[in-house]
Amino acid sequence: MLQLTGVVDDRSMRAQYLDRMDIERERGITIKSQAVRMPWELAGTTYALNMIDTPGHVDFTYEVSRSLAACEGAVLLVDAAQGIEAQTLANLYLALENDLHIIPVLNKIDLPAAQPDKYAEELANLIGGNPEDCLRVSGKTGVGVDQLLDRIVQTVPHPVGDPNAPARAMIFDSVYDTYRGVVTYVRMVDGSLSAREKITMMSTKAVHELLEIGVSSPEPEPTKGLAVGEVGYLITGVKDVRQSKVGDTVTTVTKPATQALKGYSEPKPMVFSGIYPIDGSDYPNLREALDKLKLSDASLVYEPETSVALGFGFRCGFLGLLHLEIITERLEREFGLDLIATAPSVVYEVTMEDKKEITVTNPSEFPTGKVSKILEPIVRATILTPKDYVGTIMELCQARRGVMLDMQYFGTDRVQLRYDMPLAEIVFDFFDNLKSRTQGYASLDYEENGLAQGDLVKVDILLQGEQVDAFSAIVHRDKAYSYGVMMTGKLRELIPRQQFEVPIQAAVGSRIIARETIRAMRKDVLAKCYGGDISRKRKLLEKQKEGKKRMKMVGRVEVPQEAFIAALSTDGEKKGEKKGK
């Protein structure tokens, strides 16, 4: 589309043009929505099409919903080789909720494995209409893209809005740019905005002057203003990210609107993890980095936290595991930080026998007194899979405390399974397991589905009798033993021998459920140290001194940072899901 409409010339074009982050390009996914404005001529009239490229992954549903709220129609792209995935259904559902006009499109029809007829049939079953209405395109070869653009012009309703009313612009995104400060992306709902005008944010009442206003096509292009229905960006020179809140309404100072637009509901973090700088002196940098990411990712929440083992860091809330992974990777990459992230945890509502209620987002904060009940978040999981894998998936879900709701066939081959399952089970390498059991064919989507009581216990890990808070976990009672054995075994491999014996124990309360021992190191000496060995030996000592800086002390035990990282990482491949587009 970018090439055909002429906004990007053939020479500048590259795959995933709008995915600006390295991490998006490496993983072949979209994390951050990108707006772009393209001209298209049909029957002698030139139309301006404002498009937003959105992520597909379940963790970024919030990002998608914001974008959908700024649009009149949606192009539902389905991979012609892979067909409908669980996340396709989730995003389609969102679009229909927003009363958007849907244009179903099968992409990648140039692939040898493409089965457009089969999937057109599936799509038609899903949204009604004929399989023939489903457009077939190839982003790579350009086949069918012009028909798609025509179809957009023909069928997507024109924006409605009062051009003469006081200006109301919905902020659907804002990012921090090192050179230009905060860049705010808006959709003009009513009225218009022009350059040099004084604007005000309706929630904070803060007033700024518009230094620049423009459209993305797809590189930023300053304009005189934005008229009703248009999508563009605003720059006010503001550096403080909190001044430009996604979901807020922008109006003018001279002719202010009285009624703010309905904003977005704040997304609720589902998964928590402690994020710590490996070098303690990076703590202020980590705070600053989080502040900056928060600007473009309102779903990220964090508050300071300290860990005996890891020092000062932040307890961060994420929408899901991929979100967690992306944020930590962006922090490391874009801000040059070295980080340790603790094992992901969900939010537990703990009621004590004395009726006191405690919300636990960090296993080490789990109360020690008598607990009467623990509520854990449940999700409704939708799994789409070729029918051959139904057995193995049911086995996996059962092992993860899943309760099956129903099973439904799409077409002849594809099956949808729905389960209610504790989120904690999904957080702990469920996705990796699902993918490896189905050779990558199954897809997963889930949504919150309330809380349920669980028979849960906290497992602590002790090194030489000292509790290591970073390794505590809340698990189902039946799984406490296997967690304890797994973690103590892992640590025995990862922690180097010390000059004394180091017992590693897993405990539930005061009961030891697993134990390993790191035997005392008996020998640490260079046998020969003559004339020629001296310089080498001294340099080796210096190296060991440097290595010591990467050690954390737990009591008297020296634990290398690498051991924390390795022990906290779940086994298996990285959990990045390809977006079906």
């Binding site: 020998k523 003559y530 020629g532 060995d533 310089s535």
Partner: protein, 408 residues
């Protein structure tokens, strides 16, 4: 050393900046003889078999060393350092006894004529038990050599085979006896922890060494050095990797056996019958005295500067014949590093270190010392008397103790 350390490039003229006033140091000499008949599988020393030498001739080697001796005298004098007579000489290798006895004597005479040798100086050569004889040793003794260190390694056939030592074990006893009869001090080197070596094998080697009646025994744990045949064998799984716990047990057995036989440990890996028969040459290294190392890959330490020669005999010959310094690189050891080296080396000695001095340098805080005593790594009674001395257990963990003392 397979690998030389990394330093700054040494100047062609070899001149030595005076980093440290070492006028109170004694002066020592090491002569490297970089030849072996065959290369042993574990060895990464700077040594070459005939086929690895190219055009370089072993028979002319002593003349190169004589040239370097003359060169060293000039460098020392031109650098404004007062030349001193030599306190100890040590011929090592390689296999020094692959050179004709007369050639070793020529080198010793060159040293004597150039620097002078102090009365009663210790003059040692390493010897392969197969390459010496009554006649050979007699020539050395008459020229002033007074100490022979034999490479025995083990008394057990299957261990010697893994090490690829080709000497006949009976020649060890024979030549030690000859050396003793000629009035030499004697020493044997042992290696423990060879793949396949059992505790009982090691016990046999220790007992055999003790029965030789030498004045001195060195025992080194086998180190699998990168680049050696042994390393490849361990990587491929052909031989088992050495087990550090077994090494520790073998070390403890050595300490027990040797102590019971009248030896006492004076450095981590060295035992002697008396203070007089400890290797004075090696003690000079550990006490940071001045020495010049002659030959390819040899290291020197003069007035606070460490420098080392080019490794290959052919490259060495080329530099020497051109009248250039054979030194490849050097390191100017500053005050701070000199103190670190001192701790690193002297803590290995049985006499230990003066606690008062350590404290003055900012090393060895009271807290650290008390912890080391509690862990039985240093001798508590001696610490109270003002000396930091490793216990037997502490010797096995001496690198750890050194790091703690240096606050690493």
């Amino acid at each position: 050393m397979a690998q030389l350390p990394k330093g700054e490039t040494a100047p062609r003229d070899g001149l030595i900046p005076k980093v440290f006033d070492s006028s109170s140091n004694t002066f020592h000499v090491y002569v490297h003889v970089p030849y072996c008949l065959t290369r042993c599988g574990y060895c990464d020393f700077n040594t070459y078999t005939a086929s690895e030498l190219g055009n370089h001739s072993r028979d002319e080697y002593f003349q190169l060393v004589l040239r370097e001796i003359a060169f060293s005298k000039k460098v020392i004098t031109d650098s404004g350092i007062s030349a001193k007579p030599i306190s100890t000489v040590f011929f090592g290798g390689g296999t020094p006894t692959l050179l004709a006895a007369e050639q070793l004597v020529e080198i010793l005479e060159g040293l004597r004529n150039t620097f002078g040798i102090v009365e009663g100086a210790e003059i040692t050569t390493e010897a392969n038990p197969d390459s010496v004889s009554m006649e050979y040793l007699t020539i050395l003794r008459e020229a002033g050599f007074n100490r022979i260190s034999f490479g025995m390694q083990s008394a057990v056939d299957h261990v010697l085979k893994i090490l690829e030592r080709t000497h006949n074990p009976e020649n060890v006893a024979k030549n030690v006896a000859i050396a003793k009869s000629l009035g030499f001090q004697t020493s044997v080197d042992l290696i423990y922890g060879t793949p396949g070596e059992l505790i009982s094998d090691w016990k046999l080697s220790l007992d055999t060494a003790v029965d030789l009646g030498t004045d001195h025994i060195s025992a080194y744990s086998l180190i699998v050095e990168p680049g050696t045949k042994l390393h490849r064998q361990v990587l491929s799984g052909e031989l088992a990797a050495p087990d550090e716990d077994l090494h520790a047990e073998m070390y403890e057995l050595a300490e027990k056996t040797l102590t019971a036989s009248g030896f006492s440990n004076y450095e981590v890996s060295n035992w002697s019958k008396s203070y007089e028969t400890a290797s004075r040459h090696n003690i000079a290294y550990w006490k940071s005295q001045d020495w010049w190392g002659y030959g390819p890959g040899a290291h020197s330490h003069i007035s606070g500067v460490r420098f080392w020669n080019v490794k290959h005999p052919a490259a060495y010959a080329e530099r020497i014949l051109a009248g250039d310094s054979p030194a490849l690189e050097r390191e100017l050891v500053d005050e701070e590093n000199r103190m670190i080296e001192k701790v690193m080396l002297e803590l290995r000695l049985a006499e230990g270190m003066d606690l008062e001095w350590l404290k003055k340098q900012g090393f060895a805080s009271g807290h650290v010392i008390s912890e080391l005593i509690a862990e039985q790594l240093v001798d508590g009674v001696k610490a109270l008397q003002g000396r930091l001395v490793l216990t037997n257990r502490g010797r096995l963990l001496s690198d750890l103790v050194i790091r703690k003392v240096l606050n690493y």
